[in-house]
């Protein structure tokens, strides 16, 4: 079975490819370039095409599939209505699938399930990364705010942190927000 993964994110495409390695009898092609996409698809003649929902080439691809109905191996959208839950899950995960006519649902389903799991895993990785980066930035702000308090009010580091924490609790805000506010105020007063 030939599977084409169309994804402008090479990182995500390789995570999906890795997932599909669990399947027997599969040949995976990764297409990350928008230019020449249809020519590549034509050349590969895939049985299944997976494409992410955020890909601007989807309409181009669907047009090609609509026209391809005249070809020997027409590709349709994954349209087995009995499998609507699987399609809904794939849309929720952010991937859509197109399948060559006549491929049995029994062969498509495990493939789609894997793709969905991989897409979700990738989304989780992204969230984790964004969170980690966010936490790092917060940590830097808090350190900076502490230094401002230590210098201006001659406090020790634990005292400076306690001040921030007290203010956060009394105003029902996060310490990082208080730290940001303090830095902004300090910048304004210092004319930075």
């Amino acid at each position: 079975m030939k599977i084409a993964i169309v994804d402008e994110s090479a990182a995500r495409a390789s995570i999906i490819e890795e997932g599909l390695a669990q399947l027997d009898d599969r040949e995976v092609f990764i297409l990350t370039d928008r230019h020449g996409l249809l020519a590549r698809i034509q050349e590969i003649a895939p049985d299944v095409v997976l494409i992410d929902l955020g890909n601007p080439s989807r309409d181009v691809l669907e047009e090609y599939f609509a026209v391809s109905r005249a070809l020997a191996r027409p590709i349709a959208m994954f349209v087995d209505e009995s499998d609507d839950d699987a399609i809904a899950a794939s849309i929720d995960a952010g991937v859509s699938a197109y399948v060559v006519d006549g491929l049995s649902a029994g062969r498509i389903r495990p493939l789609l399930d894997l793709a969905v799991r991989r897409f979700n895993a990738f989304a989780r990785l992204q969230t984790d990364l964004a969170e980690a980066q966010g936490k790092l930035a917060e940590r830097e702000s808090i350190d900076k705010a502490k230094r401002i308090l230590m210098d201006s009010k001659r406090l020790s580091e634990p005292q400076a942190y306690a001040e921030l924490r007290k203010k956060a609790m009394s105003s029902n805000r996060r310490i990082a927000d208080i730290a940001e506010a303090l830095i902004t105020a300090h910048d304004l007063l210092e004319g930075n």
Partner: protein, 403 residues
């Protein structure tokens, strides 16, 4: 009154303006609604989100809503369009050198003259073994059908003499620059971007092909419309208010700035303002040209979903072999447009409502007062450039003319 949420899908185009402005200016809130938006870069994804419940309603190509109802390319799902988001607003932009050969740069050409000149260029290319290639935004789009209508009436056979391919709107300028396409029919601000980058010259407005041609609609699945009927009617009233705000010159600057934001269109507000104000720069470095009704979002009951407009789109699907003619499908296609919902939303406001749900398209050549259910409506010319008219009750005759 409790605030109810509606999620709206859209593509980054100026004609997504009405729901966006309804939210930003508080018209939605006045109707007890809070609108959330999901921006996508393909119509396929806008449609998937509608069908699988990520969104309640969407800014959508009218023919795509019809194609989905008819089950073209995927299993049929009943769609409903209770509100037309606007008429026209698209342009035809050609590669700079090709444009110069068919039309004086910087002014809108005469569609007949430009068509005749283009026919010569098409023949010249064919003699060299090349077919000119035009981009449209989607297979099932009014862009595709209006471009084909104009080409065919100019003696240029789509799919035979020229090729028509799909190009996503934000990539039209790139495709012109790389020589992937020789011309395109696309909405704003993407013609203006091509002009700005000096990779294309706009030669025609879609309004010159059909003066009052339907463009995007607010589309929903029929099931969502039934489940959220009250919210939908509230949204229709909010969008009428947004339309009145949109066409007022006093608001152009502000609305261009809002629509240009990255979460909406994500483009230069100067370019967005050109479409809003009907003042387009057609060729790089030239002065703007005023073309009244380039976009048409409010007056003459522009948002009323005339079923005859849906029927015309269906006739073109048949004409270009996207659908096979079937009398039952005419009714299904026309039934996507829901004047009944529009009427029941608007009736309490006293806003203009026509008496009929259908009209002979292209039959008005001068200011004409039409019968109304309430208010007063004077239609101005709604002609097709070749002077033909479309009677929705005689689709077979209309199509026979072209075969």
């Amino acid at each position: 009154m409790a605030t109810r949420d509606l999620t709206i899908g859209f593509m980054p185009l100026v004609d997504a303006c009405l729901p966006i402005l309804a939210q930003v200016h508080g018209f939605a809130e006045e109707e007890g609604l809070r609108l959330k938006f999901i921006r996508d870069v393909s119509w396929a994804t806008v449609l998937d989100r509608l069908l699988y419940g990520h969104s309640d309603a969407a800014h959508m190509l009218a023919p795509l809503a019809i194609a989905t109802t008819l089950g073209l390319g995927r299993p049929a799902q009943k769609m409903a369009a209770p509100f037309v988001l606007g008429l026209n607003g698209n342009g035809i932009t050609l590669r700079t050198d090709l444009a110069a050969a068919v039309c004086p740069p910087g002014v809108f050409g005469d569609p007949r003259a430009v068509g005749a000149a283009l026919k010569l260029e098409v023949a010249r290319a064919l003699a060299q073994g090349q077919r000119l290639r035009f981009g449209v935004v989607h297979r099932y789009s009014s862009h595709n059908y209006k471009l084909r209508y104009w080409l065919a009436a100019s003696g240029i056979r789509p799919d035979v003499d020229v090729e028509i391919v799909t190009v996503a709107p934000p990539f039209v300028a790139d495709a012109l620059a790389s020589g992937e396409i020789d011309g395109a029919c696309v909405g704003e601000p993407w013609n203006s971007l091509s002009v700005e980058r000096n990779v294309g010259t706009m030669v025609l407005a879609s309004a010159q092909i059909w003066r009052r041609g339907v463009e995007k609609v607010l589309a929903m699945t029929e099931a969502t419309l039934d489940a959220k009927r009250e919210e939908t009617e509230a949204l229709i009233r909010a969008m009428r208010k947004a339309g009145r705000h949109f066409v007022d010159p006093a608001n152009w600057e502000q609305n261009a700035a809002i629509l240009a934001r990255p979460e909406f269109i994500g483009a230069d507000p100067v370019l967005v303002r050109r479409a809003i104000s009907d003042r387009l720069v057609l060729a790089h470095g030239m002065a703007p040209v005023h073309f009244a009704d380039f976009m048409f979002q409010y007056s003459e009951a522009a948002n009323f979903p005339w079923v005859s407009q849906a029927a015309w789109l269906y006739s073109q699907m048949v004409r270009w072999n996207h659908a096979t003619f079937d009398a039952a499908d005419v009714a299904r296609a026309a039934g996507v447009f829901r004047p009944d919902v529009y009427r029941s939303a608007i009736i309490s406001t006293g806003d203009d409502l026509p008496a009929a749900n259908s009209k002979v398209e292209g039959s008005v050549s001068q200011l004409t007062q039409v019968g109304t259910q309430q208010g007063s409506i004077t239609l101005s010319a709604n002609s097709f450039f070749d002077g033909r008219s479309f009677d929705p009750d005689r689709i077979a005759d209309y199509l026979a003319h072209d075969s």
